[in-house]
Symmetry: D2
Subunit: 301 residues, 4 copies
């Protein structure tokens, strides 16, 4: 079993790292928070004092960081990975960041004769904990042996690995899916609220939509109207789930890409603005993103 | 077999009326276009010279008209149905109109001791032709015998009858579904276009979305990006299908309802504006509503 | 001095009626609230028990009502004005309503050989109180003697009378101005908030805009950022001024017209949605419409 | 008279550089296009072969470049200004770029013991040619002697110099003004189009708005409805003026800032999307930005 470097031990990364340890890998870990590193040391990992230390100790490295600047710093900053990376290393970056950042870092890693794959995830904290994440991998298109090498680690942290194409395509797939998801969630919230005001029973309305051309995941699996589907965050006060502020972040990545590439996204752009409003509202920012139903309906504000 | 009155023999109504005749019903028909009436006379129907003539001749009446003012006029205008309607008549109105218009006409019909059900359809011209329409029925909620009576006719023109609740609930269900459909169609078009510009293969992107939280009917069954799904209008030059101008009309009904009831619908409202632009554009107005993909992408304008 | 009929003695109409009395006119008044009528009786007006009573008693009639259905009812309902209107009467309707409603009522009044002018106002409650309203008059275009007759009354309630053209043009002018006003107010709020976050001093930013191509009434006269202009509602906790819920109502009239006429109004439509959200929010609905600055900025929600 | 370095001799920069030469300054010039450099050499300027050559030759340098990456490259790239910049140099950057890019470059220049001021302009090509530009200067706030030094050059290229505050505040002021301008232009276009459809005369409507609360520069000085104001681009087929694609670029800078800073800008964001659509449309991209009137109205598409 190879020694794995792991950088970024937060809500998601912490669980992912533990799943690798459970599978038998030795870990060399780094996090901006020294207490987190100490905690992992007490669980058996080797503590590193910088990304460069990680690069010096392992040839398979996973990074799980909150934003593009963090990734640029961990790879290219002082005492960054690029300073020590050994030839032939494989960097799996599960951060959700700007596609342009992934492509830029991949180039720098290639100059070190190593490989960077973007591998953002879906599945949330529960998926990280239970090793049921889906990885959207960019950079392994047409390179089956590389994908096989990556899957040795990814399979221990998730259950699906989707090969999306060249470097950055993992980010593209995640950003695109989540932009459409946000549009559908807000759209479903608007529609449920309008239907209620028009006198429809919410479960009846959902059942009609779900067998019609309006059906989507947000209507049939994660309906934001409380009580339509039991057991999901919208029926539990929007606790848990995928936070509105996180959705705002993913939408900002979509907008960055759309602006840079000149792609018109009127609904994606307005959805970004709506989640931007939710993200700055103390009642909504940390609630599940289905809470847009509550934001739009007048009953409970 | 009862004699059935039929008013409104256009693209949809013509096929529906013929399906009733094929099933053995005698028809008394009226249309604003005398040539259409003559054509039906030559096919064996009895020609009426006004809606009032139809009301005098039949106790089961189907109306299929283009807009709220037409429905108000056919029922309540000079020589309208209300002048002659016999006690105990059943009026099935398959027009897609403002909910408030359905409710208003239903009241006037009730004063004539008869019954009005709103029963708008989905399925398009092909569904009308092949008797595979879905009817969303309002006014028969909690009245199984009434629904049974209506289904005698509806089952000959379609394959699904959904009981939505009280009068106007059929309109509500259709309007809500179609508003969400428009949002998802535009959202999918934006997402596919953005994904292509980010370097993704369109079929690959669709397949990822279709197994993820972004999936919807517009992505997995009617993807607006040409070539992703063969055999549908978006892959055939957006010919046939559901016209952009018709979608603009349905969205205007949703906006009327939302404005009257004070329901915020930011994405539904913006979708209305986008289809409004398409509806006035000679290249787009009569094309399938998936053509919004072409409107948003720069390649072919 | 002629006897004037006055229907609708609310926040605006009450002041307007009193200004006519002060100028020496005898008034015959009606309001849906009997207490209000009694109050005016105690001030010297003649109380009427219905609009029809008003129509029977005066040939110059002012109506000031909250919405299209109220106007339709007061004119065309049971015991409505149309039942008793004398030939040659002049009806001045200062209500802000759908253009289509004004045109419809004007036709019915013309059938009674009388004249209906739409004459909606700007200037608010203070303008009504101080007789400084602006009237936007429709129906007197090309008819100077008619305008002169109307101005006998209008000049006592306001200081400006703008002749806009044919019947309904008064509504059109008011609705158009207020839609643009809403867009500019929200736009200014967004811009001031963005500028602050970019590190600009708000007064400095306003002064730059106000001498540049971005200047508008909402930036140079009624800036929604507190403290930029002293003495206006945005600098006094958004108290007084023009309420957000009233702006939502005017925007709904603009949207009704745009939908009926097929005019794309993407920003007008989104502005309507934003004021719709404010109008249902207990903290914002009765505050001055500049409060959208607070809604958009994160500091105080 | 000091020797001035000038980098970026395009549509704007070419005129600005010539105005400095006319005023008596010796110029050392660089442009990515060697032919342009040769042209200036033939007019008496000294040709430089790189930005570094310019930095070595002059202590007052003006840069006028199309986008943030160009500015980063000219200053920080290989053979960039930063390689040779002499202590005490003054760099005046008239490019319209991301505020964050200005701040970043200013820091790097400060490390060279020199000063960078952002000084974006308004006034267009005509303003550059006639030396009537307005400069919005960031970085000279509270430093009158620095502003005086900058004005020695700026006054020869324009007629107004506005001191906006610290570094980046010039970009902020320009971006904010232009975002509001775009909102008002589209809003005016929507309003004029709606008013026409409601039966109003366009000049009458404009005159009402221009004396009411809806007035703005786009309604009273640059009305996008052809014929309302003679002599401006909207009345000359939208030729000349400020191109739609340039407006799309400025709006993208506003969106970048709003996204980075978390400022909700629903109308600014939708305006960006609308100019994005215009910018990719062959009929609209190079037309004056008032052409949005034509895009929204159905008459001429």
């Amino acid at each position: 079993m190879s020694t794995v470097g792991f950088i970024g031990l937060g809500n998601m990364g912490g669980h992912m790292a533990r799943n690798l340890m459970r599978a038998g890998h030795s870990l060399v870990v780094y996090d901006a928070n020294p207490k987190t590193v100490q905690q992992f040391k007490s669980e058996g990992a080797t503590a590193a004092s910088s990304p460069a230390d990680v690069g010096a100790a392992a040839k398979e490295i996973v990074t799980m960081l909150p934003s593009s600047p963090h990734v640029r710093e961990v790879y290219g900053g002082k005492k960054g990975l690029l300073e020590t990376l050994k030839e032939g290393s494989l960097c799996l970056d599960s951060s959700t960041i700007d596609q342009s950042a992934s492509i830029e870092v991949a180039k720098a890693v290639a100059e070190r004769k190593s490989i960077y794959l973007d591998a953002p995830v879906s599945g949330g904290v529960l998926g990280a904990q239970n090793a049921t994440l889906t990885f959207m991998v960019g950079g392994a298109g047409g390179k089956p042996e590389l994908l096989t090498r990556a899957k040795v680690l990814l399979d221990k942290m998730g259950k699906n690995v989707v090969c999306c194409g060249s470097v950055g395509s993992g980010q593209a797939a995640k950003i695109c899916n989540n932009m459409l998801l946000a549009i559908e969630m807000i759209g479903t919230a608007e529609t449920m609220n309008l239907g209620l005001k028009m006198g429809l029973d919410p479960k009846k309305l959902a059942s009609i939509i779900n067998t019609s051309s309006g059906r989507c995941w947000s209507s049939d699996t994660y309906n934001p109207c409380p009580g339509v589907i039991e057991g999901i965050p919208p029926s539990k006060g929007y606790e848990g789930g995928f936070g509105s502020a996180l959705m705002a972040k993913d939408l900002s990545l979509a907008q960055n890409a759309a602006t840079t590439l000149g792609a018109p996204t009127p609904l994606g752009s307005l959805s970004h603005q709506i989640y931007r409003l939710l993200a700055q509202h103390p009642d909504f920012q940390s609630k599940d993103f289905g809470v847009v139903f509550k934001f739009l309906s007048d009953s409970k504000q």
